[in-house]
Assembly symmetry: C2
Homo-oligomer: 417 residues x 2
């Protein structure tokens, strides 16, 4: 298949998977929340493309769609996959790129007359993003047998819809979602392709990344409790301004994470992403701030160090600004290391195909982190423009999608013949 034909195929099916007929919307982007009607529609497009490639498609108990091309022998399948759900006003490539390139790889292999020894699957996982309920990768957790149904059932979205209600309204049986679990010998290996969502590849001038580890978050939820008071009548030295106190903490977290990233072996990132001020009124000294901190590094001890420093700094801030505070660790996920041998093989195959690559870490979670707990697993990053992601402007070129898809064909061949 000529590269130009491949790019045409990719462009056409990229539009289809984003439910577009003529052009990607880089202004409003896409909102296909997990277990929503919009995710279902994109999954139906996935199904229809897979069927056009003569694959069988089944929907499992967690809502994952599993497309399968049977091999010559009854062996555990080589699985590829990603997702089609998005954050609110997200981009057209996060998740879709992986599903699209895997399907394009099948298409290329079939055009080449390739007949696999072992079956090949392309999995479209349900509800990968945490945008809606604050919990991510529900579909792949279920498949890997890691889903804690009770822990998530009553989590709510902003409209008060619970995970359980969303799953039921997606036509699934709540009581049996954990039956989506697959056994160790039901899958051979798992491989995911995803946009980088960062700009390391761009900066390094490499064509793709081979991910060695996934930095998982530690998350804290903090309350800073000052005293709401009249902004006109409360002298500066009488204030207990929760916003001023919280601002001091935001500055500390940013600058300290920057320092640690420069001095330590592995990078660390720390973000205050949620920040809500109360009463949030023109004439009130803010009495209360709730804020959420997300810390990631593949070096779990480094996350722990920064967490302790934040705790310590918070105590200093309490004294300096006469506020009280609470801090709660709400997430503490150890980092996930991917299969070293598989990673080396992916890199070698890429190089033989003439594609430049580099080992790298992922700061974002992906379905592969769950699959890796049970099966040898790999993750390939392709570049996305300026590292912009979770944003309507998210963009990956057709050239890079084609390169990614072609890389997948080489890896699939090597694993299934």
């Amino acid at each position: 298949m000529h590269n130009r034909q491949l790019m045409e195929w990719l462009e056409q099916h990229l539009l289809q998977l984003n439910l577009e007929s003529t052009a990607i919307d880089y202004t409003e982007g896409y909102t296909r929340l997990g277990y929503s009607e919009e995710e279902r529609k994109a999954m139906e497009v996935f199904e229809s493309i897979a069927r056009s490639l003569h694959m069988s498609v089944r929907k499992d108990q967690a809502g994952n769609r599993i497309a399968r091309w049977e091999g010559r022998e009854k062996l555990p399948p080589m699985a590829l996959g990603s997702h089609v759900d998005t954050v609110k006003n997200g981009g057209a490539y996060d998740g879709v790129a992986g599903v699209l390139c895997a399907l394009a790889a099948i298409h290329q292999l079939q055009l080449d007359g390739f007949v696999p020894v072992r079956p090949i699957e392309v999995i479209c996982f349900a509800a990968e993003e945490s945008a809606c309920f604050g919990v991510s990768t529900i579909g792949s957790e279920a498949m890997a047998g890691m889903l804690d149904k009770e822990a998530i059932c009553s989590l709510e979205d902003q409209e008060g819809l619970t995970v359980q209600e969303a799953i039921i309204s997606a036509g699934l049986d709540w009581d049996s979602i954990q039956d989506a679990e697959r056994q160790k010998d039901d899958v051979y290996k798992y491989l995911e392709l995803h946009i980088e969502q960062g700009s390391r590849l761009e900066h390094a001038g490499k064509q793709f990344g081979v991910v060695t580890a996934i930095a998982r978050p530690v998350r804290f939820l903090l309350e800073i409790i000052g005293q709401t008071n009249h902004s006109g009548t409360t002298y500066m030295d009488e204030r207990k301004d929760a916003l001023v106190a919280a601002s001091s903490l935001v500055s500390f977290i940013y600058h300290r994470a920057k320092e640690l990233s420069q001095s330590e072996k592995h990078p660390i990132v720390a973000t205050v992403g949620t920040f809500n001020v109360s009463p949030n009124a023109t004439t009130s000294v803010p009495g209360f701030v709730e804020l959420g901190i997300d810390i990631r590094s593949v070096d779990d001890s480094l996350k722990s160090t920064l967490g302790k420093e934040i705790d310590h700094t918070l105590k200093d801030i309490q004294k300096e600004y006469h506020v009280e505070s609470t801090i709660e660790k709400i997430v503490d996920n150890p980092s996930v290391f991917l299969d070293e041998n598989f990673a080396k093989k992916i890199k070698d195959i890429g190089e033989k195909s003439g594609f430049t690559s580099m080992y790298m870490e992922s700061g974002a979670g992906h379905d592969v982190m769950n699959m890796a707990k049970k099966w040898p697993a790999g993750l390939i990053f392709i570049p996305c423009k300026d590292g912009i992601s979770h944003n309507p402007k998210e963009y990956a070129s057709l050239e890079d999608l084609a390169m990614g898809s072609t890389s997948l064909t080489h890896i699939i061949k090597s694993e299934t013949q």
Copy 2:
């Protein structure tokens, strides 16, 4: 009237004006927004108390209630007043104390058999607080002939209700609200009593304050525009974090206003009261912050100095954190100085009555600032516990309310006999 009877009268009518039957709610406080059904109910209580004191009551075109005790002669009335509207979850005393003490003063004078030469009015002004529409003292602006109807008509509350709609739904005629204006010779003097909303009196151990000037605000609305990005994949040194940039500005404003207050003759206060972060999501580097700054001092040039410094600091912050910003001055009110002679008279009368007092400035706006533009006007502060205000915990003792009411009787007597 014995002080104990006066305190009983005050307690009973404090409850009534707060629409309570047994006790003040210091937990949830009171929400009687300007031109709301709740404000109307409290105004009806005001009317009924005034009528029980044999006063006539009229409602003007702006919704102010004007209770009047006729004098022996046809002279411009000595007017007292305040308001009964509150902020959201405000306290039981801000506004109510002034209306209550004025009515109690009338009651005391009547029990004493006092017959005024000139009429005495108690005015319950509409919509003094800016909690709802971001614009304050609508009723007294209308009475003083200062209301810019066009400037406020389309301001909205959080539910999208406009000022015009709220005024119409309060049963008023939008086209004629400016007819509430009174002429120079329709009023003799205006006197307001209000809780301090600060703790200067408490700290100084004085019984009441005689206000010489009202610090009016300069307000800025700022946007900090960074870049929303994935919190896990964007290295610290690649970020354009609008929250980190905004936090730096919040710190500067607080510390600089504190310094200036220590080094300059008049105090200055500066507050970031509104602060909204977007997208406000756990896994996103914040790309946008909108914040509102309120700066007050009776020294207008000091406000201007701090405003310029903020502008300058914002430019530094843009460079340091790679963000863009906009700044708009949305309010620029020169400070208001009250009538010096009237203030001296109030202080002298207080001292003769055995009450300790002090001159002071007001950091909060009050209806008196509008009335002072047209008529000689005075403002008395009584203490409120720990300076807490705009808060359910707001509290003034019955002793202090009684002291305030008794002071008013002495001043009224001196002005109307």
